[in-house]
């Protein structure tokens, strides 16, 4: 993780939100004024002391009367209350405004990222970022920043007052603060390391627990859960040790910081006592320092706590900032119209992190033809479809439709052209009809029902509690794999897109569902260009073109009979599927 600097984080948030900071600045100024009002009663006390000790500060002799003193204090209280209400209101409101903008912009950005970022286990990570971490960032502005600045303002105001009264002693009182800061600074690295260490183990333990819960049935079946319990207990005790480490490096230095800061008073006593500055101070000067020192030291003691809170929240900002730096899908200013629907992969390479997945893949799919993609698992078949759907961007090479690069076609236009059916069907929370209607927002209920009938959904939808109004998806009623697939085919049917991508659609279904899905697919594929990933070679033997993918490149290409004549990898796969007999 990058070094966390709190000011950097705050500046970035403001810049990325694009919001105006005028209101926040004004609010913070009011908060500082509120703090000044907190010092003034002590100043009044000092002035009163001057009056009764018969060394009144010019113009303040009236204060000797307790009644006047009470009036002045009451006046101050009302002014302070006014500042408090105004400052807090402004700070909260403007902070929420800044973070609202920040959220909106970030979500807008996420929306324009390649979908690959949003698939698989990364969704969980992203979800954490955009809920928990963003809430923590919100708390920087709403809860930490204003208090931090107000507290620092109070300390500085008091120090300023003391400096006016006697600058040398003020300097003595504050001289030790840099030393205290040094303690905080030097411990910061160690603290950061301890936090990082625990964070890593914490996440690992979290993952271990999820694995344990997920695999519990399997573990019980094989009577292996005891081993895992011991493993988990080990991880928990490790967490305990690491947490104590954090407390040592987090809590310890803060204690030391406070001890040193408060020792400023001891230094003051010693310097004054030994008369190191060779100046004799009048009693009033000493009284000022006795009265006001704690208004300088007190806020500093609190400051350490706010700084730790701020740093903690800024760690979330650093994580979010990584999200800001994910490159967006390049979109054209003016989308170019593709000339026809012929599809062209031209020397396309793609790697996932360090691992190359596709290398110099080239092929052409003429409009209206069927292309099948086969090959061993891990050959890069699904990646091929994902690149075509712009889930990822190719590292090099180009994908063109009708002679126009996907980058110039733009996502909006591309997604009007393609339709997809995945092995893992994604349904969202909503009714059957909503899920299918996602294919075409303008479709009437009748059109949707028509599409469902064509995809052989009608029969099982009728069996559901509320028919087409039944809720499906994560929290909805349970549908079988075949049923979910047929719904997604209905969705694609409704969309009527000319390019169809199919990813191992009929992998493991019972014979009835399988045949139902197959006949729906037949409906869907009519008149489309189709790219289909298959592992049952029988289902694609009539394809216009079969691409055999192996280790990220096209090993063979041709029709079923051409490939059989070649006697290569395809023939081997075909024979392997036959040889079972």
């Amino acid at each position: 993780m990058a070094e966390v600097t709190s000011w950097g984080s705050i500046r970035r948030i403001i810049r990325q939100s694009g919001a105006s900071t005028a209101h926040l600045g004004f609010g913070l100024a009011l908060r500082i004024l509120e703090c000044c009002c907190e010092v003034l009663p002590y100043l009044l006390c000092w002035l009163w002391l001057g009056a009764v000790l018969e060394t009144p500060v010019a113009g303040f002799s009236w204060i000797a009367d307790p009644q006047n003193l009470a009036l002045a204090l009451a006046g101050l209280f009302i002014i302070q209350l006014g500042f408090a209400i105004g400052g807090r209101k402004l700070c909260f409101l403007s902070s929420y405004q800044i973070i609202a903008q920040y959220r909106l912009r970030l979500l807008e950005r996420v929306r324009n990222m390649p979908i690959g970022v949003l698939r698989g286990r990364q969704v969980g990570h992203l979800t954490d970022l955009l809920t928990d971490d963003i809430n923590r960032v919100e708390s920087i502005f709403t809860h930490v920043l204003a208090d931090l600045i107000a507290t620092a303002g109070l300390a500085l105001t008091t120090l300023g007052l003391l400096a006016i009264i006697e600058w040398r002693l003020a300097l003595v009182l504050a001289a030790i603060v840099p030393l205290a800061m040094l303690v905080l600074m030097t411990s910061r690295r160690l603290f950061g390391q301890a936090v990082q260490l625990k964070h890593t183990r914490y996440k690992a333990t979290s993952g271990m627990l999820v694995e344990f819960v997920g695999g519990l049935a399997t573990l019980r079946l094989f009577n292996r859960s005891g081993v895992w319990l011991r493993k988990l207990d080990g991880a928990f005790s490790e967490l305990k040790a690491l947490s104590l480490g954090i407390e040592t490096w987090g809590g310890g230095p803060v204690m030391l910081f406070r001890l040193i800061v408060e020792s400023g008073l001891v230094v003051l006593f010693l310097v004054g006592g030994w008369n190191l500055l060779s100046v004799d101070y009048p009693a009033m000067v000493w009284l000022a320092f006795f009265l006001l020192s704690y208004k300088f030291l007190g806020p500093l003691l609190e400051l350490a706590e706010y700084l730790v809170m701020l740093r903690h929240a800024c760690q979330s900002e650093v994580k979010l900032n990584e999200l800001w730096s994910v490159p967006l899908l390049p979109e054209p200013l003016v989308a170019k119209q593709p000339d026809g629907l012929a599809l062209h992969f031209d020397q396309v390479s793609f790697s996932y992190g360090e691992q190359p997945v596709l290398q110099n893949v080239s092929f052409v799919v003429p409009a209206g033809s069927v292309t099948a993609v086969v090959g061993p698992s891990g050959a890069g078949k699904s990646t091929l479809l994902h690149l075509l759907a712009r889930f990822h961007m190719p590292d090099s090479g180009a994908i063109r439709i009708g002679g126009v690069d996907l980058r110039d076609i733009g996502s909006d236009q591309l997604y009007r052209l393609i339709s997809m059916v995945f092995q893992q069907v994604q349904l969202f929370d909503g009714s059957v009809i909503d899920n299918v209607r996602a294919g075409c927002e303008q479709a009437s209920d009748q059109d949707v029902v028509q599409a469902c009938k064509a995809a052989n959904c009608d029969e099982f939808v009728a069996r559901l509690g509320e028919g087409y109004r039944t809720r499906v998806g994560e929290s909805g009623s349970s549908l079988s794999g075949g049923e979910r697939q047929r719904l997604s085919i209905a969705r694609a049917l409704l969309k009527k897109a000319p390019l169809l991508l199919l990813d191992e659609v009929t992998a493991s279904l019972d014979p009835r569902s399988q045949y139902a899905v197959q006949s729906s697919l037949g409906q869907l594929a009519t008149g489309c260009s189709v790219i289909m990933i298959a592992h049952r070679l029988g289902t694609i033997r009539h394809a216009d073109q079969i691409l055999v993918l192996n280790e990220g490149s096209v090993a063979e290409r041709g029709t079923h009979s051409e490939l059989l004549e070649r006697n290569g990898l395809y023939t081997a796969m075909w024979n392997a599927q036959l040889s079972g007999q």
Binding site: A74, L107, L216, I418, D429, Q518, G522, H542
Partner: protein, 608 residues
């Protein structure tokens, strides 16, 4: 289980969890008390310093030097005592958290699977990891801070009383005022908090839903409308924060201002008393300084009240898990007997629905049994009952007359293995996963199992073969490959009874046939119960059981069922049809296909 947990209050849970650490907590509180008393030392020192300065400013210097060690001693004692208090409380907190986690996962191990399933891995992780982590703030910080916040005002009041009782009263008078202000500040706080929590939760839900659905929404050009929904929620959330801010800020500002206004009465009264010659200057100044410490700590109590609800909610979430228990079976079977599984009038209810309505069947030793039926007919439930993962609502599932639920865990694992469609592979290598059940398996045994499960080629094609780690690669194995790996894992356990629940996801009819052939040849003594999707290979079964809506409709061998069961026959017809199908190929029939079960499928309009 549920009823009991309702009565288990948060306090009782905390008390129960803190057993063995209470002495430490008491120690932490004593250290806190020392720190609070030490906190008064600087004020005493200041008192003497003021007296000295007022008497003779020039001679005061010696006094200051003499006081400095006392001052430093007081400050140092305070921080040492606080440090000690926090050290002890953190030790106790992390020990309690560790033992809580240990207990929670031990309970998880006992929990019924369907209960775990209903909770979800995410929620359980939240309980064991996040909710327990939250306890730290309460045990380690809040206890010490709360104790300090309550003891400090007491000590300060005593010190003020010692100076002058009237000054003490003036300082304390802020109390009722603050109480009044807090009553104003707290107006509607609970309600606001509820609304805020509700709005935060719904914003989070919409965000999660949006991220999850984005691929579909985007591909179907609906991402704008999904985003609109999210933006609406976001706007509603910020509208509420604005409303709450406007409502609560004045009250809250009043409260903090009043808490900070301790000089309002104290100083004029002190001045008045001094004018009347009742107390000295030093007393007034020290009273002024002490007054600051009387109610400020109460702000921390306010913060504590704000931070407590999520901690309490977390502990409440743990309650049902802590209340779980399971009676573990002890029974064993005679070692050498062949195992015969019997289901007698087994009923199984899940929630309101009846899944199995009185099933009786028998799996003879070393036979090949197949379960068929439409989805939702109860096939998987039978498989899990036989494997001992579920217990019947009524009736009996027995192995050689002993209820499977009564079997000792190790004994059950020795006799019965199950491989399901939902395969769980653990992080680790392919070999680690294969050897889960039987860590001592020999190379030959492994080879035999993977060969039978038709996964040998797949493993060989992996970059490191058996030593390929599955954590990143796990996702890259196809569903079928994962299932075959799980079958090999179950075979390695070499159980007397092997249950395969829709796990025969083989590429096609031919591989599936090969699998059954190899299984019957290599493991002739194993009793098989197969819940099958695809039919190829089951012709040779000793018993085929056709299940429908939780009841056995037909049973018998292939030939018998072909003659007797329309459903069975129609399955074969569909199997045939889909085997012949190919995309872009000629349709088997241009009109609607009429099959033996009388249902229709839309025409396969492939226009070949």
């Amino acid at each position: 289980m549920g009823r009991h947990s309702d009565h288990m209050g948060v306090r009782r849970i905390l008390l129960e969890l803190s057993v063995g650490h209470r002495l430490a907590m008491a120690g932490a509180l004593i250290a806190t008390l020392i720190a609070v008393v030490a906190e008064l030392a600087p004020f005493a020192v200041l008192f003497f310093a003021i007296e000295a300065v007022l008497e003779t400013p020039q001679a005061s210097t010696n006094v200051l030097v003499a006081l400095a060690p006392w001052l430093f001693g007081g400050i140092a004692l305070k921080y040492m005592a606080y440090g000690m208090a926090y050290l002890i409380s953190h030790h106790a907190a992390y020990s309690i958290m560790m033992s809580t986690r240990n207990r929670l996962v031990a309970r998880l191990d006992d929990a019924p699977l369907h209960w775990i399933h209903a909770q979800g891995a995410g929620a359980l992780k939240q309980s064991v990891i996040q909710d327990v982590e939250r306890m730290e703030a309460f045990i380690a910080h809040h206890t010490v801070e709360l104790a300090a916040a309550l003891m400090a005002p007491l000590c300060v009041t005593l010190a003020l009383l010692w100076i002058d009782w009237r000054l003490a009263l003036a300082a304390l008078a802020i109390g009722p005022m603050a109480l009044l202000a807090s009553a104003i500040a707290m107006r509607g706080v609970g309600q606001n908090q509820d609304r805020f929590n509700h709005e935060t939760a719904s914003l989070n839900n919409v965000t999660v839903e949006y991220l999850r659905n984005m691929p579909v929404l985007k591909v179907f050009c609906r991402s704008a409308s999904g985003f609109r929904l999210l933006r609406q929620r976001l706007r509603a959330y910020y509208r509420l924060t604005e409303q709450i801010t406007r409502n609560t800020v004045p009250g809250w500002a009043l409260f903090t201002s009043v808490l900070g206004s301790h000089l309002l009465l104290l100083l004029p009264l002190g001045a008045w008393l001094h004018t009347h010659g009742e107390i000295g200057i030093a007393e007034v100044v020290v009273a002024v300084l002490l007054g600051a410490g009387i109610f400020r700590p109460l702000l921390k109590v306010g913060r504590f009240l704000m931070e407590m609800p999520p901690i309490v909610a977390g502990i409440k979430r743990m309650a049902p898990l802590l209340a779980l228990s399971r009676s573990k079976g002890q029974a064993r079977l005679a070692a050498d007997d062949a195992i015969r599984i019997e289901l007698d009038q087994v009923r199984f209810r899940y929630g309101d629905g009846e899944v199995l309505a009185g099933i009786s069947l028998c799996l003879e030793p070393a036979t090949f049994n197949v379960l068929l039926g439409p989805s939702g007919s109860g096939k998987s439930t039978i498989a899990q009952l036989v494997a001992g993962l579920l217990t019947p609502t009524s009736g009996a599932v027995t192995a050689n007359g002993v209820s499977i639920a009564d079997l000792d865990d190790q004994e059950r694992a020795r006799c019965i293995a199950l491989a399901t469609q939902e395969v769980f592979l653990f992080s680790g290598t392919v070999r680690d996963n294969l050897l889960l059940a039987c860590p001592e398996a020999s190379a030959q045994e492994i080879q035999r199992a993977v060969r039978v499960a038709q996964v040998e080629m797949t493993i060989q094609a992996l970059p490191l073969g058996y030593d390929t780690p599955l954590n990143e690669l796990g996702a890259r194995l196809s569903g079928g490959e994962r299932q075959r790996l799980a079958v090999a894992r179950a075979l390695l356990a070499d159980p007397a009874v092997l249950v395969l629940d829709e796990s025969t996801a083989f590429a096609d009819s031919l591989t599936q046939r090969a699998f059954f052939q190899a299984l019957l040849t290599e493991y002739p003594h194993t009793t098989l119960l197969v819940v099958a999707h695809r039919l190829y290979g089951i012709e040779q079964a000793d018993q085929i059981l056709v299940l429908e809506a939780g009841a056995l409709q037909k049973r018998g061998r292939h030939d018998h069922l072909m003659a007797e069961s329309d459903y069975y026959r129609s399955l074969w017809e569909y199997e045939e049809l889909s085997e012949r199908w190919s995309l872009g190929g000629a349709a088997p029939a241009q009109e609607a296909v009429q099959t033996s079960d009388g249902s229709k499928l839309a025409s396969n309009a492939m226009g070949g």
